[in-house]
């Protein structure tokens, strides 16, 4: 029995409060599988990232096949299978942002943090991701910190924002 992390230790359990939130999510849909996306979000909130163990627990709670959970987790870009930094920085470099200098912003952030795409700083404070269009094309270039948009940026402003994050 080597490397069977799936069954060995099941230390991840949802908190009581989160179980109630999952129950709430299930009420929106006629099947429990449909609540899987909401449940993964809740799990990611609690555990910071989604491991096989977490997926197994999601499957148990929703009474669905773990493979269905795996298939969904791996499809989307907003579920992480490794721990991300305290501040997750996303830089959009898609066409509208690119035309207004997004790659300069991207290089600046990369240099400042010393990490590449999907990297995490050693102290675990920052992680970086190059993302596709975030829907801020008219306010380009932009970055997003933990999901909060910062728009109409310049290189100086980006450094200011990064410095302000403690």
């Amino acid at each position: 029995m080597t490397n069977n992390k799936f069954l060995k230790s099941m230390s991840f359990k949802f908190t009581e409060e989160n179980l109630k939130r999952i129950e709430q999510a299930r009420k929106k849909y006629p099947t429990s599988l449909a609540a899987v996306m909401d449940t993964i979000y809740i799990a990611q909130e609690q555990n910071k990232y989604v491991t096989h163990e977490v997926m197994q627990e999601i499957a148990n709670v929703l009474n669905v096949d773990p493979v269905d959970v795996l298939g969904v987790v791996h499809f989307y870009t907003m579920y992480f299978s490794k721990p991300m930094g305290k501040y997750h920085i996303q830089v959009c470099t898609n066409v509208s942002c690119m035309l207004r200098g997004a790659y300069e912003i991207w290089d600046k952030v990369k240099d400042k943090l010393g990490i590449d795409n999907l990297g995490v700083t050693k102290d675990g404070k920052f992680s970086l991701e190059e993302v596709e269009c975030m829907g801020a094309c008219g306010y380009a270039p932009m970055i997003s910190v933990n999901g909060n948009y910062y728009e109409n940026l310049t290189k100086e402003k980006v450094i200011e924002i990064l410095d302000s994050l403690q």
Partner: protein, 442 residues
Amino acid sequence: MENVKIVLPDINNLNQWDVYLSSGGFEGAKKAFSKTSDEIIDIVKKSGLRGRGGAAFLTGLKWSFMPKTTDKPKYLCVNGDESEPGSFKDRQIFEYNPFQLIEGIIITCYAIGAKVAYLYIRGEYHKWINLMQKALDETYAKGYVGDKMKAVFGTDFSCDIFIHKGAGAYICGEESSLMNSIEGKRPYPRVKPPFPAQNGLWGNPTTINNVETITNVPAIINKGWEWYSAIGAQKHPGTLLFGLSGHVNKPGVYELPTGILLTDLINNFGGGVPGGKKIKCVIPGGSSMPPLRGDKLEGVKMDAESLKEAGSAIGTGGVIVMDEDTNLAKVLARITKFYYHESCGQCTPCREGTGWMLKTLNRIIRGEATSPDLDLLINVASNIEGNTVCALGDAAAWPVKFMIERFRDEFEKYVKSSVVIPVPNKVHSMRKTAVPLEGIRK
């Protein structure tokens, strides 16, 4: 006529319940409940309202596909996935006019007989999801939606609205993929037919409309189809939210009647190009639509029919402007990288083709491409187009195909200075290690 604003009226704090109600909010819903659902579908049909999600399909006609007699539950999906580069209009609705969207959903549910509506919003918009949820909770509390609707509207009809949060996949904007995403499956697009009106969410009749389309509905019911159909272009009436981005002085979302001149939109509303530069290229409807040459913009009108004549499409109304100094090869490679990243991987032509196009375009940027590579790109694009389950294949192929065709002179410049690499297989030749570059130069 230029001041008509339907979706984003110039009213301060319209996102507050009292303000929305006092500026004629829910009048459309009240009128709707005094009519039969067939009458509402008829009004929307006559109004000529067309979908705002890209295909510009007639909304009333789409609604009429829903079966009248069925034992199955019916569903409405409202598409707020909005991931097309260049398109950022729906977030304005979530932020500034959420109640009109909710009112539109209620009327649409009544018209098609749906008891449940899912509002699908992309995961990145979590600020706007919270705003929308707040507006929805308030509407529930006031009894305008949910099981208290009888007391407010005096009707036996009731419906529920739920927000479904996406998780960062462009493909979920495709209607059948969106349904799979709501069902909690891997969001692969489905083969059509059967169409959603017969076999949609959990196999039940379903209608999918864009957020902006639905937000137009209350005004149409309230003010009548005659009023609506007189606005803008005859065959594509109403107003559109134009998202202006790229090289313009005043980018942003502008609500204007359809049929406005593209040059007017860029120069008068967008304030022209920074530095007074010339325009090289304009993508008129989001990154997947065929680009137009900057020297052929005169007289191009922004509505579905006129843009079709001009050789492009209205898409989502996201106008991306590029000035004369733009490197189109880099732009095209970036657009292709997006589709390569977002291809769901279900159909081979799209999954493989987008990668091949990206590799070839990167070769052009590196200065290692030759003129026949341009034909190769058009060839690959033509083999993706129409050979995939959903329209993402077309969306990836069109920019490549039309940009190279229309800017051939430009692309020839990029490949002219290239080194000729004598390897018969073009795709493998891009592997830098295959042939030492220095050897060839000698």
